[in-house]
Structure formats: structure tokens, C-alpha cells
């Protein structure tokens, strides 16, 4: 056992330890870098391969292992196994037996699950791809799926190992490992591009060298991501032994686990329908959807998550001691801060969406037209940024109150709203624009989720200062509207239309700052009090970075 672990053991259980506080700073940087590199390889993939059937098929196949892993283990791991892991550190053997047992049983289960999943790859394709309109290439998806599904095992290994390391207060390697994965994938893409020839689409040949490079390289990335944790685990003093059986403590959480699994399962229904509608509509839809979603999440990932990490520990502590007043205060503060930060960003994304996407993706194989479609998709869905952040915040509050049921029920309602609207997209909108409508629906669903979450938290906690929150949101929308209008007006008067990467950069460089400055200027002029902590937080972040 190293020094930090011993220090941590002297602390009362549940209390935050100094090592955690220190670690979170460098972790924020690692998270940022891993998000940027993760976005980077998607970008490079668009430049080198384009937005077409190949990237569509790859994208679908690459989400499959993630989904199955989540269904098999993901949610349960985060909400049950990890808390127990932390508790097991107080066992007489320092949690060694519990950890070994967890690894033995968990990995065996996952290995079996992986074998079954790989064998069922064609089945997954028929679930996720609607090939009836001839726009998608199910054979290619299946071929990729065979190569990518083994990732499940390594996702699982990574998740378990990082949980174990976190329980031992070792944070660095787990935060940096995804960066390693992204680098491996980048290398894979370059290798793919350098190889001569094309992936043959009709018929799809499993032995096709380019197909193999892309598929196996991506899987290798996850393998490496898990493997880099092994030395860190050895250093922490843990020795693995085969230990079979189920720990008695796991039974306590039976009900909770089921609700969390339900949450994942139901959200997957929405995902499946989304993919089917997209694959039936037009080529490139899936790639555009995943890229737009990535761009959408980027501001949340940087701002929202850093806010959450600041507020979340306080909230869970308040929930644990039953201090409703403080919990409500923190929730309200979190909501208002998110509004002040994210609503102006939504406006900027709406106005500069097309320019941004052409500037980033319109290089190489990406193509101006497809990038513009991506940009429109982003512009039409950017308003969902705040609702999305609120849903995430509320989710944490529910979990902090150990209520896994309400979030699942909220997810049920969200999915029930989403599915008919998705089919409406397919019916109402031209095929090549379906992806724009699908992203719009996605954002609208988050609006439903945010309203629902706020209402049910109100039912449980009483007055949430909702009026105050709504007022701040209204002011932000007003300010952002002014900013967006200013940028739009400027573009009609003085800026060239976006038809090449250069004009896109020009537009972006002018419109983005204008919209931002005007929107935040109006907020400052209206003396929104939430802006002060937000700006100071940013300056602190900048100083730290």
C-alpha cells in the first residue's frame, strides 16, 4: 500500500480526502485532453474517409460494444460495485478478497457475454440498421461488428480496474488511459489511409485488409486503454487471485441495480429507433448524428462537468444527511450557473453551426455539403444544451437521494415522447434532412426531461426556487437572442456565404466572438448575479490551465 492509501484509511468513511481534492485538478486536465483527442480522431476520420456508408457502418458498429457493456455491467458498476469497493477497503484484508472476487466473477461473466455478443453480431445489425430502403449497408456493419464487439471485454476490464484504482485513491492513470486509446485510433486511421485500395462495399469481404486495419486497430485502442492500468494496479499493492462466489454485500442492492439497468435499457430503445430512422433515411446520417452529438457535448463536457464536479460533492453530502434546504440551494445554484454559461453557447452554436462544421469537417473527404448538413443539424439542436445539462444535474440529485426509480420513470416518459417524434421525422422531412430533425427531436426530449425532473424533484423536496431559475433562464435567452441577432445581422451585411473552408473560418472567426461578446455583454448589463461566480470560475480555470 502506498502513502495516499494509508492516509485515506484514517479518514472517516465517506469524507472527502485531501488526495481527492488534489487529484481533481489534474483530472480535469486529463478529462479535457481525452475529450479533445476523442473529438480529434472523429475529425480525422471525416477528413480521411468522409461522411458516407463506411463511416456510418463503422460508427454503428463502434457504439455496439459500448451499449452492450453498459447493459451488462456499466450502470451496476458505477452505482453499486464501486461504493461497495470503497467500503471493502476497510475489510481486514484491505479489500483484496472482495476485489479479486469482483475481477474473477465480473470478467468471467463479461467474457461469456462477449462471446455471445460476437456470435450475435448479425442480430445486432438487424436491430440497429434499417436496411429496407437500401441506404445503409448492413453487411459492412456486421463485418465491423465482428471486429469491434470484442471491445466489450476490455471496456469491462478498464471499468473494473479503474474502479479498483479509484477506491485506492489512484486517479491519474484512469484519467489518462482514454487519451492513449484515442492516440492508438488516430494511428489506426493514418495506417488505414496509407493503405492502398478501397473497402469493397459490394460484396463486403471480411478479409479486406483495410477493413481489418480499421476494425482491429480500434479494438486495439481499447485493449491498450485497459492494459495501461495494470502496472498502476500492481504498484498499488494489489495481487490478483482467482476467487469465486458472490459477495453477500452485493445482495443489498438488488432493487437499485434493476432500476439502473432499466434506465440503460430504456434509453437504448430510443437509441435503436434513432439509428433505424437514420439508416433508413439517407447515407451519412449516422456519422452526422454522432459528430453533431459530439460537438453538442463538447461545451457541456468542458463547462458543465467542471461545474458539476464543484457542486456534486456538496450536493451528495447534503442529501446524505437529509439537509433538504442545502440540497435545494445547490441544485438551484447549479441550474442557474448552467443557464448563464450554456444558453449563450447554444446561441453561438445556432448561429455559427454551419460555419463551424464546414470549418472543422469540410477538409479532405469531408466535403462542404455534408459538413453543412452537419452544421444545420448542430444549429437546430443547440438549444438543447441547457436542458441536457439540467437533466444530468437532476439525475445526480436523484441518485444522491438514492432514488434510482424516478430517473428511470422519467426516461420512460422521455422515450415515449421521443419515439413517435422520431418516426414523424422520417415521415415529414426529406430523407437527407432527417438527421437534422432527429437531432432537433433529441434536444426537445431533453426539454421534456428537464421539466419532468424539476417537477418530480419539487414533489419530493418542496420549493426548488424554480421561479428564480426560470427568471435567469429567461434573461439568458433574451441576452443570447440579442447576441445571435447581432451576429446574424453582421453576416448578412458584411460576411461571405459559407461555401468553402476559408469562408467558413472567416464567418466563424467573426460571428462567434460577436455573438459571445454581445450575449455576455447584455447579461452583464442586466446585472445577472450568477455571472460573477461563473466568470471567477473561468478565470480560475484559465489560471490553472
Amino acid at each position: 500500500m502506498d502513502g495516499t492509501a494509508t492516509v485515506a484509511k484514517d479518514e472517516p468513511a465517506g469524507g472527502s480526502t485531501p488526495s481527492l481534492a488534489k487529484a481533481s485538478g489534474s483530472m480535469a486536465i486529463a478529462t479535457l485532453v481525452s475529450r479533445i483527442t476523442g473529438f480529434g480522431w472523429k475529425l480525422v476520420m471525416t477528413w480521411l474517409i468522409g461522411i458516407n456508408v463506411t463511416t456510418d457502418s463503422f460508427t454503428i458498429a463502434n457504439t455496439l460494444p459500448n451499449i452492450i457493456f453498459e447493459l451488462l455491467l456499466g450502470g451496476v458498476l458505477a452505482s453499486i460495485v464501486v461504493p461497495l469497493l470503497v467500503r471493502s477497503q476497510d475489510d481486514p484484508d484491505g479489500g483484496n478478497e472482495y476485489t479479486s472476487r469482483l475481477l474473477t466473477v465480473g470478467m468471467t461473466g463479461l467474457a461469456i457475454g462477449t462471446v455471445i455478443a460476437v456470435a450475435a453480431a448479425p442480430l445486432f445489425t438487424t436491430i440497429y440498421v434499417d436496411g429496407t430502403t437500401g441506404k445503409a449497408n448492413p453487411d459492412l456493419v456486421t463485418a465491423f461488428a465482428y471486429l469491434l464487439l470484442p471491445e466489450i471485454l476490455f471496456y469491462g476490464l478498464f471499468a473494473l480496474l479503474s474502479a479498483i484504482l479509484q477506491a485506492k485513491h489512484v486517479f491519474g492513470p484512469t484519467a489518462w488511459a482514454p487519451v492513449v486509446n484515442n492516440v492508438v485510433i488516430l494511428a489506426t486511421l493514418v495506417a488505414f489511409w496509407l493503405m492502398p485500395g478501397e473497402i469493397s462495399l459490394d460484396p463486403v469481404r471480411m478479409g479486406d485488409p483495410k477493413l481489418l486495419v480499421l476494425g482491429l486497430g480500434t479494438t486495439l485502442g481499447i485493449v491498450v486503454q485497459a492494459a495501461v492500468l495494470v502496472p498502476a494496479l500492481r504498484r498499488s499493492g494489489f495481487r490478483f487471485r482467482w476467487t469465486w462466489g458472490i459477495d453477500a454485500r452485493l445482495r443489498e442492492f438488488g432493487g437499485l441495480a434493476l432500476w439502473i439497468l432499466g434506465y440503460v435499457g430504456i434509453s437504448q430503445i430510443g437509441m435503436v429507433i434513432t439509428q433505424r430512422v437514420l439508416t433508413a433515411a439517407a447515407v451519412g446520417g449516422v456519422s452526422i448524428y454522432s459528430n453533431a452529438w459530439l460537438l453538442f457535448q463538447l461545451p457541456y463536457g468542458v463547462i458543465g462537468v467542471s461545474l458539476l464536479t464543484a457542486i456534486l460533492p456538496r450536493m451528495s453530502k447534503a442529501a446524505a444527511v437529509g439537509d433538504t434546504q442545502r440540497l435545494v440551494d445547490d441544485l438551484s445554484t447549479g441550474s442557474r450557473l448552467s443557464a448563464v454559461m450554456l444558453v449563450p453557447i447554444s446561441a453561438v452554436l445556432t448561429i455559427t453551426g454551419a460555419a463551424l462544421c464546414v470549418a472543422l469537417f469540410g477538409v479532405g473527404e469531408g466535403g462542404i455539403e455534408q459538413s453543412q448538413r452537419l452544421g444545420h443539424a448542430l444549429a437546430f439542436s443547440a438549444f438543447g444544451l441547457l436542458p441536457y445539462a439540467l437533466v444530468m444535474l437532476q439525475l445526480r440529485v436523484f441518485y444522491a437521494m438514492k432514488d434510482a426509480r424516478t430517473p428511470t420513470l422519467i426516461m420512460v416518459v422521455m422515450t415515449a415522447v421521443k419515439v413517435p417524434l422520431l418516426y414523424m421525422c422520417g415521415a415529414l422531412v426529406r430523407p437527407d434532412q432527417v438527421v437534422i430533425a432527429v437531432l432537433l427531436v433529441n434536444s426537445l426530449t431533453f426539454v421534456v426531461g428537464a421539466v419532468l425532473g424539476q417537477m418530480w424533484l419539487w414533489v419530493r423536496l418542496g420549493n426548488l426556487h424554480s421561479k428564480k431559475v426560470v427568471k435567469v433562464i429567461a434573461v439568458c435567452v433574451l441576452a443570447s437572442g440579442v447576441g445571435a441577432a447581432a451576429a446574424w445581422g453582421l453576416s448578412t451585411v458584411a460576411l461571405p456565404t459559407v461555401d468553402s473552408v476559408t469562408t467558413a473560418w472567416v464567418n466563424l472567426a467573426v460571428q462567434g466572438p460577436v455573438a459571445c461578446v454581445v450575449a455576455f455583454g447584455v447579461l452583464v448589463a442586466l446585472k445577472v448575479p450568477e455571472l460573477k461566480p461563473a466568470t471567477s470560475r473561468i478565470t480560475r480555470l484559465v489560471r490553472r490551465g
Binding site: A248, C425, D432
Partner: protein
């Protein structure tokens, strides 16, 4: 709900344990996983007993749990809990409608895992019905109803006292009202030091509560305390509500007092008063018939439904459902509007739905009196860039011109000078599975001004002079329909660009082939 969560010993030995009953939440499991908690019904602060409705995971039935929370390392608390469990076990022998049947009594190492943070659990039959607190929440009950409700509980106490056992009824949240209108001790578990007298006092307190809506003993959560007279005693119920018969009012007060003179010391004494009050029921009703009628109806509603009329949460829940429905409807409308907007937005995108221009066949009337009539569209087996000089233009994207997707296209390189400065032209060679007679080629392109020739070719890579022109047109933005003047079957068809559009670059979004009608 309660803020009393810091009262637990947090000294040495407690660190590894749960710090407080924060783990007692709906959905969590207790009793080594056997019972899953459903809803909290109260808290007896005197012994830190949490009252929960729960489900028996094995027998799939509902039970009422009295959870004794505390640290096993604290000897005093553990001893008190052990005592309570023992007393409950003894009292379990009593079977009476006024008390829920005790199903099981669990202690540490005997159904409770050591790390659960619990000192004991009393498992009892779940009694359907309403919380006592909810029944009197809106208004106090008419005296006759109060007497009728309390009688079976008093009878249960009487039965227990005959065998020298204490029931432990002196806490309002432990009592529930069954659907058939009886008070029942639903969360059994007498306090370690409780005496028979405490039970009688409890009965008196419940009677006081039913009559006035106020609790005369140590304050209970969620209930107003009874007002005190200057002598420190609670004021008699009659002083609050003059319609309460003197006998009931004084019985309630006398059961509460400790002093031997004039106090009711046994449950049988109280029981007699209750029976008499019940007999007086008719008389009371005939005296103030109107008042009682309305009140009887009201408390019917309160007694025989499980609804909680005074519950803030249920009102909020209804409002929440309403707001949710409104949000869903709004979002539906917004989605529809958004999609209209998207359709509107997309109409100006190039290459879609543009006008169709028809270019007639170039051949003159002598060669071919009548151009072939177009029939079925036919899909090319493959498309390649056809190039005679220099490097081919975007050869890997040639098939985008026939992929059926108007969002993708094939483009020529961007040339410095117009053809034929560098090359005579550039084209797309479409190959078919078998020789086909063609009637029309439809080219969808945003590059107006591009001049295109359609040529038949003998092979996939012929010399340009081996090919034969059968159609020619200058492309208009959108679709251009080229009629061909030869119906001779050919397996290879060349779309040959001889003049580029503005900027010396041309783009072809989609090419469609129509065979001649037979």
C-alpha cells in the same frame, strides 16, 4: 423529513459503519436482503425506531417493519434493543384484531447482517388502511366515532394486560386505521422500560388525539402538541371542543395523569367508558343530527379510502403530472414546427428539386427519324472516371454520381484554364451488366453551363475516338434530361464533359439511365 440524524455515536468503531440511517431509503434492502423498504411511515424517536412498509422478498407480501437503528458497538443501545425484541417476542403470542400479528423478530446475527447499522427488526403483518395521523389531520373525529375506533385497540391492550404483557401503543405513528374502521397497532415493539400504565396512558393519548387532533404526550413528528393549562397538565378536550361529552373528555385526561386519585389505571376502566360512549351514540346523534350527519360523511371518506386528502405531496404530484402533460404537448407542437422549418430551410440547398430541362437528341431527322421512347430506369453496375490525359479527377468518388443520394456528388478537379488546354475533357464511364438500348440520361448537377456528351463505348477503357456521340447538352442547374438518338444496345456509356462550368470545375450530383422502351 427528520433532521435527527446526527444523534448516533460516532466515536471509535463507528467509522467503518454507516454513519446514520441515510441508508434507509425506499428500495434498499434490510434484514440481510430479505426485506425491501417501500415507504417510511414514521419514526419513534424515543428508541430511534423507524417505521417502514416493506416487502418480504421471499414470500412476496407486504410487511410493517420496526427498524431499530443504532450502532451495535454501543452497549446501552444494543441492550435496550435486545430488551425490546424480547418483549415483542412475548407480546407476539397475542392474537387480536387490535394488533398486527408479529411475524418475526430479527436481531444482529439472527437475520441482520452485522454491517447493516440496525440493532433489531420487528416484522409484522402489514395492515391496510390509513395512517392514524392522516385520519385526524383535517379535523378531529366525532366523539362516537372516536370511541368506536378506539374500542378494539383498548380490547387488545386489555387482553395483553391480562397476561401481564405490554403492547407499546403510546406512539401515534405506530397505529393505523384499518379499512373496516378499527385502530390497529401496526408497528409493534414496546419500549424497554414501558409499563402497563404506559399502555393505558397511550390509549388515553390516542383518545385525546382522535377527539382534538392534538397529541398530549411527548411531541410526535407531524402532530401539534396539546395545549397546556397553567398547572402543567393538558387542557381537557372539552375545553377545546365543547360538543365532546364530559365522560369521554375526562376519561382521556384521567388516563393521562399519573396520580392514583381519580386517574384511570387500567385499560378495563377506559374500556367501560368507551362502551358507554358508544351506547350514547344514538342520543348524541339525535341531539345534533345535522352536524353529525355531515361529519359522519366526511370521516367516511377519510376512513375508507387510502387517499390522503391533506397530503401536500399528492397535490403536488397531480400538478406535476399536469405540467408534464403540458410540456409533452408543447414539445410535440414545437417538433412539428421545427420540422416544417427544416423542410423550408433545406429547399434552397443545391441539386434538389431543381427544374428539369430537356435536351433533345443531337442527331438530325435523316439519320434517325424518331428518338427512342424512354422506358425503365436502369442501374449502372459500376462507374469509373474516364480520363485520357493527366491524372484522373477524384476517381474514388465516381460512384457518388450513381449512389442515389442527392447529398453526395462527384466533382472534376479545378482547372486553371478551360478544356482543352490540359485535357480534351473528362468523363464518367458507366458499365452495365449486359448491353442495353438507352433512350435517356438524366443528369442532376448544380454546375450550369457544363457541356456534356453521351457516348457509347465498346469497352470500359476505349480510346476517345472509339466512342460514338449519341447525345449532347449544356447542363442547367438541377436536372437535365438528355434524349439519345441511338437505341443500339451498348454495355458501356460515357458521360463526357467537354466544357466545364464557371470556375473551370463541374459537379455531377446524380446520373440516371433510362433504357429504351421495347
Amino acid at each position: 423529513m427528520t433532521t435527527r440524524r446526527t444523534e448516533y455515536p460516532v466515536g471509535e468503531g463507528a467509522a467503518g459503519n454507516q454513519a446514520g440511517p441515510g441508508f434507509l431509503v425506499p428500495g434498499s434492502a434490510v434484514g440481510d436482503g430479505r426485506y425491501r423498504l417501500l415507504a417510511e411511515f414514521g419514526l419513534d424517536e424515543r428508541v430511534n425506531a423507524h417505521l417502514w412498509r416493506a416487502q418480504d422478498n421471499q414470500l412476496r407480501r407486504d410487511v410493517g417493519l420496526t427498524l431499530l437503528v443504532g450502532d451495535p458497538a454501543n452497549a446501552t443501545a444494543a441492550g435496550a434493543a435486545r430488551k425490546m425484541l424480547e418483549r415483542t417476542m412475548h407480546a407476539a403470542r397475542i392474537t387480536h384484531p387490535g394488533t398486527s400479528r408479529v411475524l418475526d423478530v430479527l436481531g444482529p446475527g439472527n437475520g441482520i447482517a452485522p454491517n447493516e447499522g440496525l440493532l433489531g427488526i420487528v416484522v409484522a403483518d402489514w395492515s391496510q388502511g390509513t395512517d392514524l395521523v392522516d385520519v385526524i389531520a383535517e379535523h378531529p373525529l366525532p366523539p362516537s366515532t372516536a370511541a368506536r375506533l378506539l374500542e378494539p385497540l383498548a380490547a387488545a391492550v386489555e387482553l395483553a394486560h391480562h397476561s401481564g404483557m405490554v403492547l407499546g401503543i403510546d406512539h401515534p405513528q405506530r397505529i393505523r386505521v384499518t379499512p373496516d374502521g378499527l385502530l390497529r397497532l401496526s408497528f409493534p415493539g414496546p419500549l424497554p422500560e414501558a409499563t402497563l400504565q404506559d399502555d393505558v396512558r397511550g390509549l388515553g393519548a390516542i383518545l385525546y388525539l382522535l377527539l382534538t387532533g392534538k397529541w398530549p404526550l411527548r411531541s410526535a413528528p407531524g402532530l401539534p402538541h396539546a395545549p397546556l393549562a397553567p398547572d402543567g397538565q393538558v387542557v381537557p378536550p372539552r375545553a377545546l371542543f365543547p360538543y365532546i361529552p364530559y365522560e369521554l373528555s375526562s376519561a382521556a385526561v384521567r388516563s393521562l395523569t399519573d396520580d392514583a386519585t381519580g386517574g384511570i389505571r387500567t385499560s378495563s376502566g377506559l374500556l367501560r367508558v368507551l362502551e358507554r360512549a358508544k351506547l350514547n351514540e344514538d342520543a348524541t346523534q339525535s341531539i345534533s343530527a345535522i352536524q353529525d350527519d355531515t361529519e359522519d360523511e366526511d370521516d367516511d371518506g377519510a376512513l375508507w379510502t387510502t387517499k390522503r386528502p391533506h397530503n401536500d405531496r399528492s397535490k403536488r404530484r397531480k400538478l406535476a403530472i399536469g405540467v408534464t402533460a403540458l410540456a409533452v404537448a408543447t414539445v410535440g407542437v414545437l417538433a412539428w414546427l421545427g420540422m416544417q422549418l427544416i423542410s423550408f430551410f433545406g429547399d434552397d440547398s443545391p441539386g434538389a428539386g431543381g427544374p428539369t430541362v430537356v435536351a433533345t437528341a443531337p442527331g438530325n431527322a435523316e439519320n434517325n427519324p424518331k428518338p427512342p421512347t424512354p422506358g425503365q430506369p436502369i442501374q449502372a453496375a459500376g462507374v469509373q472516371v474516364y480520363n485520357v490525359k493527366g491524372t484522373p479527377d477524384s476517381p474514388r468518388r465516381a460512384n457518388r454520381a450513381v449512389d442515389g443520394d442527392p447529398a453526395t456528388s462527384w466533382k472534376t478537379d479545378k482547372y486553371q484554364q478551360p478544356f482543352p488546354a490540359l485535357k480534351p475533357g473528362v468523363g464518367l464511364m458507366a458499365s452495365f451488366a449486359e448491353p442495353v438500348p438507352f433512350a435517356e440520361v438524366v443528369i442532376d448537377s448544380p454546375s450550369s453551363g457544363t457541356v456534356v456528351e453521351i457516348r457509347t463505348a465498346p469497352s470500359e477503357k476505349p480510346g476517345l475516338d472509339e466512342t460514338k456521340v449519341i447525345g449532347r447538352a449544356t447542363l442547367q442547374p438541377g436536372q437535365t434530361r438528355l434524349q439519345l438518338d441511338s437505341a443500339e444496345p451498348t454495355q458501356h456509356l460515357l458521360i463526357w464533359i467537354t466544357t466545364l462550368a464557371d470556375g473551370n470545375v463541374s459537379e455531377i450530383t446524380e446520373v440516371g439511365f433510362l433504357r429504351a422502351a421495347q
